[in-house]
Structure formats: structure tokens, C-alpha cells
């Protein structure tokens, strides 16, 4: 469905959506205008919501495997892929996906033997970033595109992109649910899992490919530099307040969706880009969960029976 046409927007707007959108975002502060605008960005909202859901499930495993740095590394390297495709005049989304999956597989293969995942990541990360900067330097196009790769650009998502992003995010989530038990087992107790017949190496590689795809998807919403806010922070927050597997996943998904969607909905009222809103909201959620956890601990200490002094 062509949104611009369906909303009876001026032809110029349909021709160059990004510019027209910015214009429209600037001039919209009334409620009526807001809902028009909201409909206009509904692709982005759907995408963000689905990515938030995926990030919630994924984040649980990232936390278990202590792979936060790996996520960041893959995101930075995905930026190199996107920059290369931009330079070659190809699809930037495809470029970041190719970069992210390649980086994830490379990290997976290099760290399979010695399990020094974060060391391998730390070595590859600056190299990828350097390549990205090189490609961007060689690119002669508009600089706005360049910045979007790093900090997010979701407002411009069209129907096809939405469909792609949503499809991939759903596939990742479904695979994660189906692999839930062995992946959990291998993450919590790799030795026992291997002994019980879980092929931990194959599982690690599948996980890395999924991670590459998940990062590539999330880069579209918050940009390469801020991917952690969608993939890591919601689950980290959920883990502070619950230890039940299902509760953690549901909470993390809820936090992810909330920060992504609320971020967009606030962002369209002004001119500030979406990512600061998303990162701030997810950070505030984390802070809230931290406080809840602290408070609970204090209460449980107070409830504990007092130590009876030994009779002298």
C-alpha cells in the first residue's frame, strides 16, 4: 500500500519521502497532525515493535553468554558492510546484513577453538570500523545517509523494507524459540550439554549467524552505535527483576517493544532523531528495574530473622 497516496499527501511528498517527512515532522504539534504523522510512520512503528520483541528474546541469550561486546563489534563491522554497499551503489540494508553476518561467522569461527570471543571481537571491531570510515570517505553522496548508518534512520522505512525486516525478525524469533532448550543448556553449562549430546559447536555457529541477522535488523532502527539498546538493555533489565525463564523473556520483550515504539512516537513530535529517545527510555527502564531489585533485596534482608546474640 502506498501510504503517501492513501493519505492524500502532496505529490512532492511522495516523491522524496525523507525530506517531506522532516518538513512534516517540524510542522506537526497538534493531535490531529500527530495521528496523520503516526500513520505515516506506521511502517517504522511496526518494524520497531517486531524488532523490540526479537531483541527481548535474543537479549536473554546474549546476557547468558556474556556476548554484549560481541553484539557491539558485529554492529560496528556491519557498518563497514553498509558503507561498502553505499559506495558501490547497492542496497545499504543488504550491505549491513552482509557485513553483520560475515562478522558474526568470522568471530564464531575464530573463537570456536579457544573460546576467547571477546578478544577476537575486540581485534576485529576496530578493523571493521576503519574499513567503514574508508568506504564513507570514498563515497561522494549525501552526508545524511552516512550518519544514518551509525545512529539510525528508521523513519524512511518503506513497505518492502518493513516486510523484509519483520520477516527476518520473526524467523529469528521462531528459531530461537525452537532452539530454546539446547541453547539455554549450552549457555548455562556447556560441558554437561556437550556430554548430553548437544552439538555445542554447531549451536554456537547458528547462534552467531542469528546474531548477525539480528544486529543487521536492529541497525536499521537505532543505528550501528546504539544496537545494544535494543538487543542487550531490555533483557539486562528483565534479568534484574526476575529469574523465571518465561517471565524474563516476556518482560524483556515488553521492555524492548515499549522503548522502540515509545521512542518513535515521541520522536515524531519534534526534530530530534529517534535513537536518543529509544536509548534513554531503555536506560530508564533498566534503572527502574535496578531500583526494584535493590529494594527487594533490602526488604528480604529486613524480613530475615534477626541474629540472636550468643549468650555470654
Amino acid at each position: 500500500m502506498n501510504l503517501a497516496a492513501s493519505l492524500n499527501l502532496p505529490a512532492s511528498l511522495a516523491e522524496s519521502p525523507p525530506l517531506a517527512l522532516v518538513e512534516r515532522i517540524r510542522s506537526s504539534y497538534t493531535l490531529e497532525g500527530y495521528w496523520d504523522l503516526f500513520q505515516l510512520v506506521q511502517n517504522s512503528v511496526i518494524t520497531a515493535a517486531v524488532l523490540g520483541l526479537m531483541g527481548g528474546i535474543f537479549g536473554v541469550f546474549i546476557a547468558l553468554r556474556r556476548a554484549g561486546l560481541v553484539v557491539h563489534g558485529i554492529a560496528e563491522i556491519s557498518f563497514a558492510g553498509a558503507a561498502l554497499f553505499l559506495l558501490l551503489g547497492l542496497n545499504v540494508v543488504a550491505g549491513s546484513a552482509v557485513g553483520a553476518v560475515a562478522a558474526a561467522v568470522l568471530i564464531g569461527v575464530l573463537s570456536l577453538r579457544d573460546r576467547e570471543v571477546s578478544a577476537v571481537t575486540a581485534v576485529l571491531m576496530p578493523f571493521g570500523m576503519g574499513l567503514g570510515i574508508l568506504f564513507l570517505h570514498l563515497y561522494q553522496g549525501r552526508s545524511a545517509n552516512q550518519f544514518g548508518l551509525l545512529t539510525g534512520q528508521i523513519v524512511g522505512v518503506d513497505d518492502i523494507q518493513t516486510r523484509t525486516l519483520v520477516t527476518v525478525a520473526v524467523i529469528i524469533s521462531v528459531v530461537l524459540v525452537l532452539l530454546w532448550r539446547p541453547l539455554l543448556f549450552a549457555s548455562v553449562d556447556p560441558e554437561l550439554a556437550a556430554a548430553r549430546g548437544v552439538n555445542t559447536s554447531v549451536l554456537s555457529m547458528i547462534f552467531m549467524v542469528l546474531m548477525g541477522l539480528a544486529v543487521a535488523m536492529s541497525v536499521q532502527v537505532v543505528g550501528a552505535l546504539l544496537v545494544l539498546s535494543l538487543l542487550v538493555v531490555p533483557a539486562a533489565a528483565a534479568l534484574k527483576v526476575s529469574h523465571r525463564p518465561l517471565t524474563v523473556v516476556l518482560l524483556a520483550m515488553g521492555f524492548g517493544v515499549f522503548s522502540a515504539v515509545a521512542g518513535i512516537m515521541i520522536a515524531i513530535t519534534g526534530t530530534i532523531p529517534i535513537s536518543p529517545y529509544i536509548t534513554t527510555i531503555s536506560f530508564l527502564i533498566y534503572l527502574g528495574c535496578l531500583l526494584v531489585a535493590r529494594r527487594r533485596r533490602r526488604v528480604s534482608i529486613r524480613k530475615a530473622p534477626p541474629v540472636i546474640p550468643a549468650a555470654s
Binding site: 536473554v60 525452537l178 530454546w180 548455562v188 548437544v198 529469574h243
Partner: protein, 276 residues
């Protein structure tokens, strides 16, 4: 071990088994049969190949020479007839699992598909929690449990499905005396009442000395097999280490005194020297 089980077919059978990494031979020409209900202690200094011995039985490490069979079939990873307690590692505080979830992983953690717990699984988990005496903290997050409590859960995971072989890698390591006794008792029960063969890798034979039927002692690429009184002797260990080793019995405890051999009983040796 009962008379009956002595005549039963061996649960574990190794023939001319050997492991070498490059030029280094951990052990070789190992012939060993372990019968149902038998409790086998695996001893030796660090790096002598005790854990590798378990890895072979788990199907995680190929033999360089010879064959290894469990229940008449070549060893393979993931056999449901084999229970395993890996070396103790404490779980991070934020692990999103309750005690019962961890035990459930021992039952069906290797299966993929929608992670839905059937009534049967729930009942099996409940029974395992009872057997290891962990009902009191069944709903506690695993990350806040003590090392001993976590180790009970690992025992429950290993006992899932009543395995015919129980492989334990230092299961008592870093546990306090009370938990050591409890875990040792659990494993002994599995051997005596459920006719499981228990292979128990350890630094320290004393906590389990009552239960042990036979000992395999690895050192310097060689091994000795026999009952405790056959293997844990000064002349046998001196020959094995090719250095003077004294085995002293003190109030039912065995103390191995070896000055220049990098050895785990050093601590005991120190205590005894101080006592003397």
C-alpha cells in the same frame, strides 16, 4: 557390589585403551571392566588423564588406541544411559533459571522444539528434587544458591532417567563436609540400590573411602587398578611414581606423603607433619 552383579555383563569395558596428544602419552594399554553397582575411584595427580578418562567414556574424546564400550556398545556422546556431573562451577547470579528449571535441563535440555514442560516432565523433576533433598529451594534462582546446593542440583541432573553409568568429575570439590557427605551418599545409593556403575574422579579418596570398590590410579603415563588396599600402598605408589611415596593410615583415613611429587595430598601431608 553384590555377588549377583559381579557375574552380570560389564557396564563399562575398555580394551587396550590409550590416549596420547602428540608425543605425550597420558595412559595406554588400559584394560578395565566395571560392573553394575560397582564404585570406581579414579585417582592421580593433575594432568595424569583422569578427566580425559571421563571424556572418553562420555564420547567427547576419541581414544588413540583400543576400544571403549558402554553396555556392549561403543561409547557415544549423549547416551541416555550415562549420567554426568561435571567439575563444579558456580553459576552466575543472574542466571534466569530456578533450581527446578536447571534440573529440567538435565532431563530434556538436549531436545529442541517448543519448550513446553509436560506433566510427566514436571513430575520427574519433582521426584529428582526430592531425591537430592532440594525441595526447599526448588523455586529459588540457581545463582543465589550455595556451591553445595548447586552441586545437589547437578547430581539431580545426572540422576535423571536412572542412568546405568554415573560419571563424576570431582563432585565434592570445594564443598563443605556436610555437603560432601550428602553428595557421596547420593551417588553410593545410586550404585548400591539402582545397580549403576559409578566412576568417581577425585583428588581425595577419604570422603568416599567406605564406598569405593576399586581404584584406578593414573600417574606418569601408567596406571594401577585394584581395591583400595591393593593400590593405596607405599610400594605400589612408589613404583608408579618412581619416587618414594608413603601411604599412612590414620584413624581410617589414608594419607599420601610424597615430597617431590606434585600432589594433591600435600595438604594432608602438611597436617600430619605438624601433628607429628
Amino acid at each position: 557390589m553384590t555377588e549377583h552383579s559381579r557375574h552380570a555383563a560389564p557396564v563399562i569395558r575398555l580394551r587396550q585403551a590409550g590416549i596420547s596428544f602428540g608425543r605425550r602419552t597420558l595412559w595406554e594399554n588400559l584394560d578395565l571392566e566395571v560392573h553394575p553397582g560397582e564404585f570406581l575411584a579414579v585417582l592421580g595427580p593433575n594432568g595424569s588423564g583422569k578427566s580425559t578418562f571421563l571424556k572418553v567414556l562420555l564420547g567427547l574424546q576419541d581414544l588413540s588406541t583400543g576400544t571403549a564400550e558402554i553396555l556392549g556398545e561403543p561409547v557415544r556422546r549423549g547416551s541416555s544411559r550415562v549420567g554426568y556431573i561435571p567439575q563444579q562451577q558456580s553459576l552466575p547470579a543472574e542466571t534466569p533459571l530456578r533450581a527446578r528449571d536447571l534440573v529440567a535441563l538435565g532431563l530434556n535440555g538436549h531436545r529442541w522444539g517448543i519448550p513446553w514442560k509436560s506433566a510427566r516432565t514436571r513430575a520427574a523433576v519433582e521426584e529428582l528434587l526430592q531425591r537430592v533433598g532440594a525441595e526447599a529451594y526448588a523455586d529459588q534462582p540457581v545463582g543465589v544458591l550455595s556451591g553445595g546446593e548447586q552441586q545437589r542440583l547437578r547430581a539431580a541432573q545426572a540422576l535423571a532417567g536412572n542412568p546405568d553409568v554415573l560419571l563424576c568429575d570431582e563432585p565434592l570439590h570445594s564443598l563443605d563436609l556436610q555437603h560432601q557427605q550428602a553428595i557421596a551418599e547420593l551417588l553410593t545409593t545410586q550404585a548400591s540400590q539402582r545397580e549403576a556403575a559409578v566412576v568417581f574422579v577425585t583428588h581425595e579418596i577419604n570422603p568416599i573411602i567406605e564406598a569405593v570398590d576399586r581404584v584406578v590410579y593414573f600417574a606418569r603415563g601408567q596406571y594401577r587398578i585394584g581395591t583400595v588396599s591393593e593400590v593405596m600402598r607405599s610400594e605400589v605408589l612408589s613404583e608408579l611414581y618412581d619416587a618414594p611415596v608413603d601411604v599412612v593410615e590414620h584413624k581410617g583415613r589414608l594419607i599420601v606423603l610424597a615430597d617431590h611429587v606434585e600432589h594433591h595430598h600435600e595438604h594432608d601431608a602438611d597436617t600430619i607433619r605438624e601433628a607429628l
